[in-house]
């Protein structure tokens, strides 16, 4: 009998491509860990009290071809009009060499945040280029390596000014010419901190008291106003000046740093990053030097390696949530590295002259358009502008907007007769002409762009024309041919370890496969070219996909509703706590403000709770790393009148399925609190258990962990939250887009209604391809892979925490602290030695200092796991030689790791091991070797002497 045709269709083929180990590998690994089947392992590791009887139903698995065809049929329902809406989002042209070699290149998009700088020099250089672009264009001395979006940057500017300033005022003054979504997010973020936001005209605001004033330059209406005198007055009143601005405009405008700004931020989207229906985009953030120890986000700095060679690293990490916890400057962790890098490469590609040409063309088209409108009898409401002309059309607004729709053009409707037109890199002479036709309703006009050109003056006031130079570093001049650019991108990429080279077993980070089929739709124009504020009837395809994704996430989590707005896990935590606050308030219990957090929590949890206006009370853990139930009960009872929430990670940050999770949730509910579950470890639960059914009221999902959105070298991310039915009415809304959030919505937490909408297809495709059976199997194999590593390494390293049957969840913590005592070998030495094997280190020193936390994910094959196990085994044997004194302190392959090519080829080699053992500690490396480009980096030197700009120009001539 022939094989049935259904079996030949390979409809579940993607499952075995996503999951690393083959059927026979799985069998062998199960034997190794003492389980008879995947279900047997599940029964032994996942508590019966939380397991679902039947797998949450997602549907049958699909082939890549079918899933993409289905998604394409949805995408085609989006109507991609030309959007001249502006309001912080402007169309742009991603240079093709960047599109293909960065945005669509796994070497860039699958990398992790560069916490291991020796193997991240490529993207650290790209990030410092971004900081240089920001500093040069804003005229500020210090910039960070990106923020989530412009609106949350405004909120961060507010809290930064409050933190650093000495003013006793509690008022944040906000110009009414800021983008509406910026004002709305600032109001959301101000409320729990008891900061009063006063919105008004800058000239009126400056007469009031406040700790800071927020201006936008150019304003949302397009107006370019000289705020120099106002900034000086603010300074005299001990008031910080924060400015939202636009990088392209700053190529022509006097930068805020030259007229008195203290903090300058904005979106870098129009530097080559697609609109994407709202994101992901990088925001930039710059400040005066006095703010450097308080500035939020990551900063790339320059230091030296052990040979004295300049090298890049993340600087001043003590500001960050993973160290400072409730005292952190912000809860931001994931930022937008991939998009910041694209923006920086856009500047490298065009150089200062190219950027200025694009800006000048945009401005000239706007100016000519405004002149034509004057001829047609319209008056623009702003005489000075860069790219945006706002026109008062009186009672004619609707007919003009209708005519624009007929020509497939979106304009900004202010709702009061004013219409905004924002020009951008894609604007043309023809577009200006068509806009005149739209406004006049006539076909023939009697004048042309060419005819008006010579007689139209620029619309930038003389006092605000930029005179200072920018982007003078050689980087922005030497890669102008495509060949040079292509090789520069490749030169940087090959310095780094990303998932296209080897496993990145970072505990709690879930570095799984980001399949090509999942990535392809991101750059489809139907998803990439949509403006977030386009009329909803044009976004029907997005709506279908978003609703379906929400429904699927509800099914998998057991929650009643999901919001896709939060742009990162940290933002999901924040949204979740605000929703909990709103719920308590709705019941007249606004006094509930205590947030219990176990001591093992990720640092973001306490940082978030503080931002949400809650008071953090830490609860203890027992010797097995589990939540100490007695302490939890005591503290919940003690604070029962004020208990707002518990933030708990499940499975725990220690990689253990705590048996008592239901009881933990019950204790909180009994004392009037809500349970916030940190979903960072949801990859251990998908298809097996639903947090919404075992006690959680809210949980965020890191789509960039569990659901395959790549990490992008430190962002983008997505942190949607799922909520139980009683919390659904409070999900965040949006000031400019209808149909978002619950009926009693809290304010927006992101600039765009659906966060980074254009990467949501990645998670949709993943879930659709895997189907019910695939998702469950992925979780089971993730647990198997972690247990296999723990088992195979048990002779050499003790696994710190295990569940009741001796199994870990989807990650394991290896205790390397005894080696510090026995051989003075630190966890850093092991991490750096792993680089010589071509591996990225596991998570170091979290949640337990001095240990390694390994999360292999389901996507890594047995062969790769075995190579990793071999590496850690060889390392243990090397440490044994140090213990026995065969290798001296300070001169052994661990403390001298990583080994560079120049170490090996140096004339002198005075080490007690061979060059071969230094560079090729495993045989498979001989044919395929990754070479770290620098030796171990000196962190202290970099933090003691902070440099966060590209090396000075002289350094280039010295190197040449």
């Amino acid at each position: 009998m022939p094989t049935p045709i259904q079996d030949l269709e390979q409809r579940s083929d993607f499952i075995r491509r996503h999951i690393g180990p083959s059927e026979s590998d799985i069998a062998a690994m199960l034997r190794a860990v003492g389980a008879t089947s995947l279900d047997d392992l599940t029964n032994k590791s996942v508590p019966a009290s939380i397991r679902e009887k039947s797998t949450p139903a997602i549907g049958e698995p699909m082939t890549e071809h079918d899933a993409l065809a289905l998604l394409e049929s949805m995408a085609k329902q989006n109507k991609v009009y030309r959007s001249l809406i502006g309001a912080g989002y402007y169309d742009t042209i991603t240079p093709n060499v960047i599109l293909r070699n960065v945005l669509q290149n796994p070497g860039w998009y699958t990398a992790y945040t560069p916490y291991q700088p020796e193997i991240s020099q490529g993207r650290l250089e790209a990030m410092i280029n971004f900081q240089q672009v920001t500093m040069d264009l804003t005229g500020m001395p210090l910039a960070n390596a990106s923020m989530l979006d412009e609106a949350t940057s405004a909120a961060e500017a507010m809290t930064l000014a409050k933190r650093v300033g000495t003013s006793t005022s509690n008022v944040f003054l906000v110009a009414d010419d800021c983008h509406p979504q910026t004002i709305a997010v600032v109001e959301t973020r101000a409320r729990p901190l008891n900061i009063e936001v006063v919105v008004g005209k800058p000239a009126d605001l400056i007469e009031k008291d406040g700790f800071a004033i927020l201006l936008q330059y150019p304003g949302t209406s397009g107006a370019v106003v000289d705020y120099g005198a106002l900034a000086a007055k603010a300074k005299s009143k001990n008031m910080a000046v924060a400015v939202a601005t636009d990088l392209l405009a700053l190529t022509l405008l006097k930068p805020p740093g030259e007229w008195g700004a203290d903090i300058v931020f904005g979106s870098a989207q129009r530097f080559g990053v697609p609109l994407g229906y709202g994101g992901p985009h990088a925001a930039f953030f710059a400040a005066q030097d006095a703010y450097k120890r308080s500035i939020p986000g990551r900063i790339v700095g320059v230091s030296v390696d052990s040979k004295g060679k300049a090298a890049y690293r993340l600087a001043l990490q003590t500001r960050e949530q993973h160290i400072r916890r409730e005292k952190a400057t912000s809860n931001i962790c994931t930022a937008q590295v991939l998009l910041a890098n694209i923006a920086a490469f856009y500047a490298v590609y065009h150089g200062p002259e190219g950027l200025k040409t694009i800006a000048t063309r945009t401005h000239r088209l706007a100016a000519i358009f405004a002149e034509g409108l004057r001829k047609l009898g319209f008056s623009s409401t702003n005489a000075s502008f860069f790219d945006t002309v706002t026109v008062d059309t009186g009672s004619h607004a609707q007919e003009i907007l209708d005519r624009a729709q007929a020509k497939e053009i979106n304009l900004r409707d202010f709702g009061d007769g004013r219409i905004g037109v924002s020009f951008d890199e894609r604007s043309t002479r023809d577009e200006v002409f068509r806009l005149w036709q739209v406004f006049s309703g006539k076909g023939a006009l009697g004048f042309s762009v060419e005819a008006l050109d010579a007689g139209v003056a620029d619309a930038i006031p003389q006092s605000l024309k930029r005179t200072s130079e920018y982007l003078q570093h050689p980087t922005f001049h030497q890669y102008r041919s495509e060949t040079e650019m292509l090789r520069y991108l490749r030169h940087l990429e090959q310095k780094d370890i990303a998932l296209n080279r080897s496993m990145i077993a970072l505990g709690s980070c879930t570095m799984k496969l980001n399949a090509t089929a999942e990535m392809i739709p991101v750059t489809w124009p139907e998803f990439g070219s949509m403006h977030p504020f386009a009329p909803l009837d044009q976004a029907q395809g997005y709506k279908l996909m978003l609703k379906d994704l929400e429904a699927k996430l509800c099914t998998l989590t057991g929650f009643a509703a999901v919001t896709l707005q939060p742009n990162a896990g940290s933002q999901g935590e924040y949204s979740g706590l605000l929703v909990i606050r709103a719920y308590h308030e709705s019941k007249g219990e606004q006094h509930r403000n205590i947030c219990l957090i176990p001591s093992s929590a990720h640092g973001t949890n306490p940082a978030t709770a503080v931002m949400a206006g809650m008071e953090v009370v830490i609860t203890g853990c027992d010797e097995n790393g589990n939540v100490d139930l007695n302490d939890l009960r005591a503290k919940a009872t003690q604070h029962k009148d004020k208990l707002a929430a518990l933030m708990v990670t499940y499975p725990s940050t220690h990689g253990v399925f705590e048996e008592e999770i239901r009881e933990i949730c019950q204790i909180i509910h009994d004392n009037g609190g809500q349970v916030y579950m940190d979903g960072a470890n949801f990859n251990a639960l998908v298809g097996l258990a639903c947090p919404g059914k075992f006690g959680a009221d809210v949980m965020h999902m890191n789509l960039h962990k569990t659901f395959c959105i790549p990490h992008g070298g430190g962002g983008p991310g997505m942190g949607p939250i799922g909520v139980a039915e009683h919390l659904a009415p409070f999900l965040p809304g949006h000031p400019l887009v209808g149909g978002v959030g619950g009926e009693n919505a809290i304010g927006p937490v992101s600039a765009a209604p659906y966060g980074s909408a254009s990467i949501l297809p990645i998670s949709w495709v993943y879930i659709t391809l895997m189907g019910t059976e695939g998702l469950k199997r992925a979780t089971q194999v993730a647990i198997l892979n972690a247990n296999y590593i723990a088992k195979k390494l048990e002779k050499h390293y003790v696994t710190l925490y295990k569940g009741k049957n001796g199994y870990v969840a989807h990650e394991c913590i290896l205790d390397t602290r005894p080696l510090k005592t026995s051989a003075n070998i630190s966890v850093d030495d092991i991490a750096k030695r792993l680089m010589d094997f071509g591996f990225h280190a596991p998570t170091m020193s979290f949640p337990v200092p001095g240990t390694l936390m390994i999360e292999p994910t389901e996507s890594e094959s047995k062969a790769e796991l075995d190579r990793f196990i071999e590496a850690l085994t060889v390392i243990r044997m090397e440490i044994a030689k140090v213990e026995k004194g065969e290798y001296p302190q300070g001169n052994n392959p661990l403390q001298l790791a990583p080994h560079t090519l120049s170490d090996l080829t140096a004339d002198k080699w005075e080490r007690p091991y061979s060059r071969h053992d230094g560079a090729f500690p495993a045989s498979h490396l001989v044919g395929d070797k990754y070479w770290p480009p620098v030796n171990r980096i000196d962190h202290a030197a970099g933090d003691r002497n902070l440099i966060c700009a590209c090396p000075p120009i002289e350094a280039y001539s010295e190197a040449a």
Partner: protein
Amino acid sequence: MSKILFSEDHEYIRIENGVGTVGVTDFAQKALGDVVYVELPKIGATLTKGGQAGVVESVKSASELYSPVTGEVVEINAALSGDPALVNTDPLGQAWFFKVKIANENELTGLKDEAAYNDYIKGL
């Protein structure tokens, strides 16, 4: 004649003529690792025993410095701000943080002498 006392938070205070010179102990600097930044109190500020008096940061950690006594800050070590690495090289010498005019000598009774402190850190 000066005498030196230690707190359980690993600050030391060297007392001379009613003024205490405060810094962190050798044990503390070893635990911190390479110190990259210190934040000092302002001259004239009034500190309370056990209250925050400054910050000391290494590459991987940030710790509060607590005042072992109540009193007014009379001098701060500006050289330390410029060269925080002194905390690692000479914690009990050049790396003092501030001098405080001791308001209440009775508070000193809760602190440990050198032998008691050494016993204390052995037990950690």
